[in-house]
Point group: C2
Chain length 98, copies 2
C-alpha cells in the first residue's frame, strides 16, 4: 500500500477542509514541526465536537492520529495529500493563512 | 470593485467544489473556450436540482451567469478565483481530471 492509497476521494478531502474548525486544525498542524497534541488544535468547540472533526480529517486521510493516553497527537499527512492532489493543500493553506 | 471582491470566503468555495455534480460543472466549464449553455453542464440531475447547484456556484463566485432566454450560459471565473486563492482551482481541476 502506498501512502496515497489512504487519502480519500477529492470530494471527501474538499468537504473535510470546508469547515472552519477543521481548517483551523489543519492550519495549525501545517505550521508545526512535529505532531501536535489534540488539545492544541481547538478552542471554540467541545471535546466531543473536536473528536467528530478529527474523525472526518482522519477518514479523509488528511491527518494521522498518534495514540497517546487520553489526548492523541496529530500529524498532517502533507506528503501523502500532495502526492494524491498536487498543490491542493498548499493553496488551501495559503488562503487560510491570509 | 475588483474581481476578487465577488469570490466568496474559502469555506464557501471549498464547499461549492466538494460536490460531485458541481465539480463536474466546473470541470466542463474549465475545459471550454467559451461560456457553455446550462444544459451542457449536467445530465444526471433534474433541472431544479441543477438550478440549485448553479446558485451555489454563483454565490461562491466560481461562475458567472450570462442570462439568455430559458437556458443561461455559464462562464468559469478562473482569473478572479485564482486572484483570490492562487493555485486552488488548478489543483482541484487537475485532481478532478485524473
Amino acid at each position: 500500500m502506498t501512502q496515497t492509497d489512504t487519502v480519500a476521494d477529492l470530494q471527501s478531502v474538499l468537504s473535510a477542509l470546508a469547515d472552519p474548525v477543521r481548517l483551523e486544525m489543519v492550519r495549525r498542524l501545517a505550521g508545526a514541526t512535529e505532531p501536535l497534541a489534540c488539545t492544541a488544535l481547538y478552542e471554540t468547540v467541545t471535546k466531543a465536537t473536536a473528536s467528530h472533526h478529527f474523525k472526518i480529517l482522519r477518514e479523509a486521510g488528511l491527518v494521522e492520529r498518534i495514540a497517546e493516553g487520553q489526548c492523541a497527537r496529530y500529524d498532517l499527512r502533507s506528503d501523502a495529500v500532495d502526492d494524491a492532489y498536487p498543490g491542493l493543500l498548499p493553496s488551501v493553506l495559503a488562503a487560510a493563512n491570509k
